[in-house]
């Protein structure tokens, strides 16, 4: 079935849209990055975050940097 279980056929809407010309996503903006984590602290897929390829890659890098600095958890 992939991303969503049978019971919830309508996928949740993308969390945010972002202007790609904005300054790069920063690993210090913890509250912003937390929006793109599941309750288990997994990174949301592009389908659910609503980001383009480049933004999603920035998000991934930023979250991983935050995790290294113990600003965000690896697992909840």
């Amino acid at each position: 079935m992939g991303e969503f279980s049978k019971s919830s056929r309508t996928p949740p809407p993308p969390i945010a849209t972002r202007n790609c010309d904005d300054p790069k996503i920063d690993y210090k903006e913890i509250t912003y990055l937390q929006k793109f984590l599941t309750p288990q602290a997994q990174i949301l897929s592009r389908k659910r975050s609503g980001f383009c390829t480049q933004c999603q890659r920035q998000l991934k890098e930023s979250i991983k940097r935050s995790r290294h600095m113990a600003l965000l958890p690896f697992v909840n």
Binding site: K28, R67, H68, A70
Partner: protein, 152 residues
């Protein structure tokens, strides 16, 4: 010389003793390899997302510095060996923002004092709030069946 951004997670025990010593710990290591510190400031003191070497809290130091690309590898190596630095992150930076320069200057002013970090064993204020919020909810759930019983 390139511009770099460095974030350092310092052991609270060092910070508790003296903030300037803790700051110089990082600044001296950068200067040792020919780096030139542009700004340096205390970024935050916070609870860690996961314990590191038995520490549950830590102080973050944010610095922007100029250094030769060849100097970064030995600098990293030195921070790797430094036990008082729990984690570090060195990234290339494009520019230092004005806000960052002002915050760094504010820290150098005479009246500036760094609040001493709380004890590790203390329950952080954020967790206390969570407990207070959860308790009434649990009571409310328990009360519902009790009322239902009285009605029956």
């Amino acid at each position: 010389m390139n511009l770099y951004e460095g974030m350092f997670l310092l052991d609270n025990q060092v910070v508790r003793a003296d903030w300037k010593t803790a700051k110089n710990l990082v600044v001296d290591l950068i200067k040792k390899h020919g780096g030139e510190v542009v700004t340096v400031r205390r970024w935050d003191e916070r609870k860690l997302a996961y314990p590191i070497r038995g520490r549950r809290r830590g102080t973050y130091l944010l610095t922007f510095f100029k250094a030769a690309p060849d100097a970064i590898a030995p600098t990293r190596h030195d921070f790797e060996l430094e036990e008082r630095v729990l984690r570090y992150l060195i990234l290339r930076a494009e520019a230092v923002t004005d806000a960052e320069i002002e915050l760094s200057k504010a820290e150098l002013a005479d009246g500036f004092t760094v609040p001493p970090p709380p004890q590790d064993d203390e329950v952080p204020a954020s967790e206390e709030v969570v407990v207070q919020v959860e308790e009434p909810v649990a009571e409310a759930i328990e009360e519902v069946p009790a009322e239902a019983n009285t009605e029956v």
